[in-house]
Amino acid sequence: MLSGTLSLAVALAQASPGFAQDRPSNGESAVEVSAEGREIYEQICQSCHMADAKGCGVPGAMFPALADNPRLADKDYGSIILLKGRGGMPWFAGMLTRPQIAAVLNYVRGHFNKYQDTVTVADLDRITTANPPVPDCNCGH
């Protein structure tokens, strides 16, 4: 219940970004984000981290690679960033459900890296309760 209320608050915050910005309109999109990790990656993540997850840009102006990323060995690392955002990257707690966040993290950690342990919704709930600080940027990676 508590987490439900929280994620609604975050969803609202994302839908109305503070002050009325220039934007197309109000109202929710009917675009359905998949439940499946690979498809979520293609629908959302690759718009910045690229289809091969190798990131892009140059140091000082880049999206970090998610492929072969040692920081992702810690399964909480990606979870915290997806839940809370970091730097220019928004949080996705409003756009994706917790099962979707877990699914896409498991895809990125398993497919583009070799990490075998899985992120669960319980892990995400644990992080929400503990509320750890956002880890430092690994933009140099």
């Binding site: 915050a13 994302q14 839908a15 970004p17 503070g18 002050f19 009325a20 910005q21 220039d22 934007r23 197309p24 309109s25 109000n26 109202g27 929710e28 999109s29 009917a30 675009v31 984000v33 293609e42 629908q43 959302i44 993540c45 690759q46 718009s47 910045c48 690229m50 289809a51 892009c56 840009g57 140059v58 140091p59 000082g60 102006a61 880049m62 999206f63 955002g85 970091r86 730097g87 220019g88 990257m89 928004p90 949080w91 756009m95 956002v134 940027c137 933009c139």
Partner: protein, 529 residues
């Protein structure tokens, strides 16, 4: 005695207050009198008397940076701008035939016919964005009306009306009619007697009857009166068959399916109300006009990699994006307008609280897709002149050019402008797939012509722009409270400016207001220090 007394007119009064108390007092008074409440702009800053030889380094040649350079030069500072791109204007840009879109991961050549264009970033200017309007006038940028809303354009929702788009006009009139009828019923049943006085109840009933176009039984339905708002099965004509035939309103439930209140609420917003304007020939005319004034001070293709400061001045380290050569530029002061999404990744000597602010400022994403059609079938076939049709598909909307109406030959539609999920979905596609998706989805509005009349297209995904990696800064109430003042405060010899340093996020007005505020404080500090 009284005969000789004439009350000062409002304007006399303002003139006196302006003289005695200066601009700030004038602004306060005007606000109290109900003028000017829309913008903080009180006229260009009157900065004069810079110390001889004092210099300012401006980072970024977007609107915030170029306005800073323009006004600081007038004040007597030696100004240099360093800009990463080979062009000025920043997010203020326009795509025309022959242009190249360089995204991370792809290159597109724009194929629009001469005279046609797409504004991939800013495209409209509300009538109360006084700073933008002022500098357009001062710099000679011609403005023309932007068609903000169009009653004859469409609303499409996948789950409403079996997926068939309906006219904005029909939905808004029916929504108003049904809600009026219901409020009338509630009032007549006495359900609101505790909330309204008998006098207000009578006035509300009268209001609902007239505003909602209800009949004598206080019901909403097919009638000539409703036809006068909603349009007709057969419109009024001349001669024998001149009598109009009204059409059938939609029922309450199907009207609600359309969620038409989303559009009604959107157009009710202060920044979305009419009158709305656009720069004639493309929004980049504004950036170009600033460039005509300060262009000589811009060093292009200059990527700032590090910013340092001490009690004597500031130093920007850079690499030349073309030759790879490294260099340094020094000055007494700095105005830095690099977007937070980039600045947060650069080694900058500023307070930790400022760094924390940069780290807490995510950027949204958006995509715009321009589709050049061989002719204006939306005008000839659907009587849509400017404005937008809205959909809950990924593209978000289709927007029709309000300039050049009735002309023959090709015209460019805005075939997509989503925020949120739709923006990520389209940004992650190749440029070719984006065009295909835009055609597939936009065809819902104009099935007979959309694909048949398509000629060529171009798109720009903001997350793929290497110099910003996003669209605009996204503040929340919490992040404002924790970080905003820290971000905008002057830090030694450096002040940050730009859209992200304002409460007018994702508007050119915000970029300009932030710049004026930053240089005013910088000037005060420079004179004091």
């Amino acid at each position: 005695m009284l005969d000789h007394f004439t009350a000062p007119t409002r304007r006399d009064l303002l003139r006196v207050i302006g003289k005695v108390g200066g601009g700030a007092a004038l602004y306060q008074t005007m606000t109290v009198l109900g003028h000017a409440a829309e913008s903080h702009f009180t006229g260009p800053p009157q900065l004069t008397g810079a110390r001889p030889g004092a210099s300012v380094l401006v980072i970024g040649a977007g609107l915030a940076g170029m306005l800073a350079a323009y006004e600081l030069t007038k004040a007597g500072y030696k100004v240099q701008i360093l800009e990463l791109q080979g062009r000025a204007g920043g997010r203020n840009m326009t795509l025309r035939g022959g242009d190249t879109v360089n995204e991370l991961g792809s290159v597109q050549k724009v194929g629009f016919a001469p005279g046609n264009y797409l504004n991939p970033g800013p495209w409209r200017i509300p009538y109360h964005h006084r700073t933008v309007l002022h500098y357009c006038k001062e710099l000679g940028v011609a403005l023309e009306p932007f068609m903000q809303s169009n009653h004859n354009a469409f609303i499409h929702r996948k789950t409403a009306f079996g997926g068939k788009p309906q006219r904005y006009r029909d939905l808004t009139i029916d929504f108003k009619g049904h809600v009026s009828e219901l409020l009338g019923k509630a009032l007549n049943a006495g359900a609101l007697d505790a909330a309204v006085t008998p006098e207000d109840k009578a006035r509300l009933l009268e209001a609902m009857r007239s505003w909602g176009v209800l009949d004598k039984n206080m019901t909403y339905g097919k009638s000539e009166k409703v036809g006068e708002q909603r349009g007709w099965e057969r419109p009024p004509g001349g001669g024998v068959n001149g009598a109009p035939i009204p059409n059938d309103p939609f029922g309450l439930s199907e009207t609600l399916d359309s969620k038409i209140w989303d559009q009604l609420g959107f157009f009710a917003e202060h920044a979305m109300q009419t009158s709305m304007f656009q720069a004639k020939g493309g929004m980049d005319r504004i950036g170009k006009a600033f460039q005509a004034r300060v262009g000589k001070t811009i060093r292009f293709n200059t990527r700032i990699t590090k910013i340092a400061q001490d009690e004597k001045g500031v130093t920007a380290s850079w690499t030349d994006a073309i030759t790879g050569a490294a260099g340094e530029t020094k000055a007494d002061w700095m105005v830095c307008t690099i977007p937070a999404s980039i600045l947060g990744q650069i080694d900058v000597q500023i307070a930790d609280t400022k760094k924390a602010a940069l780290k807490a400022l995510p950027y949204g994403n958006s995509v715009k897709i321009g589709l050049e059609m061989k002719r204006r079938f939306w005008e000839t076939e659907d009587a849509i002149y400017g404005g937008s049709s809205f959909t809950d598909q990924a593209i978000g909307l289709v927007s029709y050019p309000g300039h050049g109406c009735f002309s023959d030959g090709p015209a460019v539609l805005l075939g997509a402008y989503p925020f949120g999920v739709g923006a990520y979905v389209l940004a992650g596609m190749t440029p070719e797939r984006r065009i295909q998706a835009a055609l597939d989805q936009g065809a819902v509005f104009h099935p007979a012509h959309y694909k048949a009349e398509f000629s060529n297209g171009a798109s720009l995904a903001w997350s793929r722009m290497p110099w910003i990696l996003g669209c605009c800064a996204t503040w929340t109430e919490e992040s404002r409270a924790a970080h905003y003042q820290n971000l905008v405060s002057m830090d030694g010899r450096i002040v940050l400016a730009g859209e992200h340093c304002s409460y007018y996020g994702c508007w050119q007005e915000g970029a300009l207001l932030s710049s004026l505020d930053a240089i005013t404080r910088l000037h005060q500090r420079a004179l004091a220090g």
